[in-house]
Amino acid sequence: MTHPAFTPAEARQRDTFLALMWALSYPGRTATLPAGDALAGIGEALLDLETTYYTPDAALAALLARSGARRLPPDRAAYHFYPQVDAAALADIALAAVGSMLYPDDAATLIIGCRLHSGAALRLTGPGIPGEQRCQVAAAPELWSLRARSPFPTGWDVFLVDGLQVVGLPRSTRLHVDAL
């Protein structure tokens, strides 16, 4: 029996979504995004007229704008895209919405480009993790102290992207940074 066409765009968006879903379901484990520009691909899968985004990167902003989503300042945008974490990005991330106890789902989602498998060793525990999960992320340590400011259920959900690899850090994950 024929079914409605599974277009290349839908295939790409579905694969991207599933990578994000499994990354968030099993925090610290690597999931693989479909080929292409990873950050723009995540934007394509998640953004549309009903959402808002922020990115400090002009070229990426132009790509994300094609989704029809509104670009808002970092304190109001729902989806943040950072190709790398520098001092300016940290200042923006510090403003990102963490939601409230009443509406924790108002928190921002951060998509952050960084190097995985090098840098600080993280030990993760919490939902999605049998026992303890270890992973390595080369990102500014201030990111973790900013994250620690919001008690569960508030806080942002983070996707760490390195090339086509993505690691999810939902707000439910308890994180311990080992000294280098």
């Binding site: 409605p4 599974f6 979504f17 994000l20 009903e50 789902d105 939902p170």
Partner: protein
């Protein structure tokens, strides 16, 4: 008018979007699903769409399944454990017609399992998704009919009234009365209704390898139990939660015991029993070895010590 043929007058053929839902609906569901996974047990509102199936017949689960499904997916749909009931058959046919996904009755073969009121007997594994249809997502409904106040109570983790209900049940009846939808605490934070699964299935959500998504179409809320997450039925430490006592029930087709059974009235007035999980029964009848089950052949749950021996309060 020179070319007034039917073909010339008709608009060009336009298909449904892939998996029926339009791209906006699918993206919205996906965004809300990610939020639900990140906040285990929190009821995330979403814009439940109209479907060619009436609200209350599994449209919440159906929308989540449609947001996940692809042509390579293998879908199992069950209703009260049965693959062949009308509701399950219709939902399955709709999902496959709109997505080209394959179907199965084998819980271990499926990538997406949509279910009304049961969790299969065989232990689901990592990267499988269980989608539960939810008629009433609000566990506080019985103690707080105002949903805004109930929302505030969840925000405050104010579950005192739930404990009071349990206490009153013990005082009056010396046991917990709630059968299906037994309220359970997820990740030590939010109390959820696990959907009307029997008490027998509630422990299966605890530290499960698979992902569970629960969605209510009419109530427009979805929530999740991520893999490897603590799920504890509400219970007092001195009066532990109990699953249905079906120790002496034996399936009349297979002779199997210690699995969840349907009770069937027989012509002579007595009762017969059969396995509720029809996919599991199929395997046993066909002589295929089923996978490991949550409850073993002696009725022991696979997480040692999770279920405790019964206590009747004085």
């Amino acid at each position: 008018m020179s070319h007034s043929t039917l073909a010339a007058l008709a608009t060009p053929r336009a298909d449904y979007s892939y998996a029926f839902l339009d791209a906006f609906a699918r993206r919205e569901l996906r965004r809300r699903t990610l939020k639900a996974i990140a906040i285990p047990g929190y009821q995330v509102p979403y814009a439940s769409r109209e479907l060619p199936i009436a609200r209350g017949w599994g449209t919440g689960g159906l929308q989540v399944s449609l947001a996940l499904v692809g042509p390579q997916s293998v879908v199992k749909v069950i209703d009260q454990g049965a693959d062949d009931s009308v509701n399950a058959a219709n939902l399955r046919r709709f999902i496959t017609r709109m997505s080209g996904a394959a179907t199965t009755t084998d819980a271990l073969q499926a990538t997406i399992l949509q279910s009304r009121h049961r969790i299969p007997e065989e232990i689901l594994r990592e990267y499988q998704t269980l989608v539960l249809q939810v008629p009433d997502p609000e566990p506080l409904r019985a103690v707080q009919s105002d949903s805004s106040r109930a929302h505030q109570m969840h925000a405050d983790a104010d579950y005192g009234q739930m404990w009071l209900v349990l206490y009153e049940q013990l005082v009056r009846y010396r046991q917990y009365l709630q059968g299906a939808s037994y309220p359970s605490l997820v990740n030590g934070r939010y109390v959820i209704s696990p959907s009307p699964i029997p008490r027998w299935d509630t422990p299966k959500l605890h530290q499960a390898a698979h992902l569970t998504l629960l969605a209510a179409g009419r109530e427009k809320r979805l929530y999740a139990v991520p893999p490897y997450t603590d799920v504890y039925p509400l219970e007092f430490t001195d009066v532990p939660f109990q699953v249905e006592d079906q120790r002496d029930w034996r399936c009349r087709h297979t002779g199997v015991q210690h699995k969840f059974m349907n009770e069937l009235p027989l012509a002579d007035g007595s009762a017969g029993y059969e396995l509720s999980d029809s996919g599991y029964q199929q395997k046993i009848t066909a002589g295929t070895a089923p996978g490991a089950t949550y409850y073993d052949d002696q009725g022991n749950f696979y997480h040692d010590g999770y279920l405790k021996p019964p206590v009747r309060p004085e």
